[in-house]
Symmetry: C2
Subunit: 354 residues, 2 copies
Amino acid sequence: MPRQPTITLKAIAERAGVSSMTVSAALSGKSGNVLISEATRRRVLDLAQEMGYRPNVAARTLVTGRTNQIAFWTQGVSNPYFNAVYHLARRDLRHYGLGVTLLEAGGRSPSQPLANVDSAVDGVVVFDWPNGEAALRETLATLGLAHLPFVGMGCYYVAGEADYVGVDLAAGTRQAVEHLYTIGCQRIAYVVDQGSHYETDARWSAYTLAVQRAGLEPEYIVTSVASRASARSLVTEYFGSYRDDKPRPDGLFCHNDVIASGVYRGLCDLGIRVPQDVALVGCDGIEDIEYLERPLSTLRQPAEQMCALACQFLYQRIQNASLSPQQIVLCPELIVRESSSRELDKYQDISQRS
Amino acid sequence: MPRQPTITLKAIAERAGVSSMTVSAALSGKSGNVLISEATRRRVLDLAQEMGYRPNVAARTLVTGRTNQIAFWTQGVSNPYFNAVYHLARRDLRHYGLGVTLLEAGGRSPSQPLANVDSAVDGVVVFDWPNGEAALRETLATLGLAHLPFVGMGCYYVAGEADYVGVDLAAGTRQAVEHLYTIGCQRIAYVVDQGSHYETDARWSAYTLAVQRAGLEPEYIVTSVASRASARSLVTEYFGSYRDDKPRPDGLFCHNDVIASGVYRGLCDLGIRVPQDVALVGCDGIEDIEYLERPLSTLRQPAEQMCALACQFLYQRIQNASLSPQQIVLCPELIVRESSSRELDKYQDISQRS
DNA sequence: GTGAAAGCGCTAACAA
DNA sequence: TTGTTAGCGCTTTCAC
């Protein structure tokens, strides 16, 4: 690789007739005990501009020990909600001058990615990590990163020593179930995928409780993976096997919106009407479920606020490791759209228009 | 920041009773002229494992001049198709031991991001860059990165000296238009956003030509931005203002699937039936348009193959800068779904079922 | 205000 | 097969 003629501090220093240290100080605008005269600063700045100087990040990192890179640690990458959150966090971190490296933790332990190509980072944003703080710290320790600042973010959170921004899906789920009950659903099921460790999920327990409190029987519809296709075929199978004389769910709360949209399609396949025959509520708040012929209700997570706070917490901790833990829990918002609207008559009309 | 006790090569060397250079060679498995005995190698490897050694990437980069990081350069980040492509490329590059830094070029010149926090990279994947190779090289030169290897990828490509993997949307667009014509559309319009420099876009010109060749009049429906919301409101306005006695488009080819799904929703709003009243074809092949009540036809881009080839080309160029340019053009695939199906009778039935 | 010297952790060259 | 030396480009410390 033809390494192109690198413009170093020294090169600028020579042309400016000063030492390379002076150039460094001038460029970095140090307000420490080192002061550079306005004249030299200008001269150096102009020269750097003119010569097209670009600092060597590796050299700087080597001596300062700071990379200005943050790892964004996630379980999976194939969900629109993840992408929305990821890009929000990227933007927030950029405001702090921090770049982002995406870390996809295959299974429960992301040791592989962290240990690999991914360059060193100054901190980690841990998104929707379901295994608790202890396990997280242990994993980090295994990687020799015990002291690496991190912030938890998302719907899994437990009180601990770490900074986190939680989202209280239990409260939201309760709301969603009550909503379904209120509009008249008598058999409310929960659609979830196996991979979601769903027995320890706040949605699962909150759903179970809420349904029981309403005097109904919980019913779990479990698909193998959290994909649209999988949810669709599951629904076709599950609902397709019902006879007319047997009761079937008339309200579905879905673990997330991707599942919900697969479920919706599955119901379409069977000619089951939403919301008249089955009402549907998803979770997350991804954009595309709003654009279905029958827009889906959802439990919208406060992604913007969550990211903003988490990035702020992390930035502050990087600046000052001895800060006391910052922990906050946000609430999702139940967005009621046509898929679970009580004004059934209205939709009866519309569905007959064609 | 309490810098934790770093495990360096030297530390391992001392414990192993060898020089740090030996350790370096043993760990990197050098097959060059430097050979390490199997015994020392084992000892060093075990020790490194035991002490939890993690190489200092910055130091390595400083001396080798290689970061093993690739910049993924894109125009915008808010499109599901982009996300799909991005993650595909990430995976492909990881196979080559390369990490990825996402570079979002705000306007036409991404100088800002490249010059900023983003660490140095060994190469660039340029995705759907509409401004041509010359402009690209110029931009790189401005940044002092004239010799940085890059590969172009996507639907904008022109013959030149650079490696690229193109997608021939002109051919695909022709197919799409002909398809719409074949199923009986007599007034086929093109829905596009202003930001897409659409007059220089292959889709635009191919659409225009194909429509004219069919003896029809081109009609451009132009929205301000490429968002679902914008497309939806545009359609509501555009079609809402038509009287029954005036002809209106009965076939729409959309610049991309995001626009298509907004258009679809807008048509729903107006009670216009798809495909009976208006047939719809999008472009890209994002997943969620397959899950609408009326799945959308689309011009599916060969994202997997495109990414695989582009990453391969880039990797090879990084290894060997003097390779002759590798250029290839792939074809999109027209996927016909219900939104433009000719079996209108069938859908007539379905739409009356409720 | 500025400069000189040292060194971050690693690898490339050469010598042994 | 292994060790020695040098240096990547930058910042930090301390002396001037």
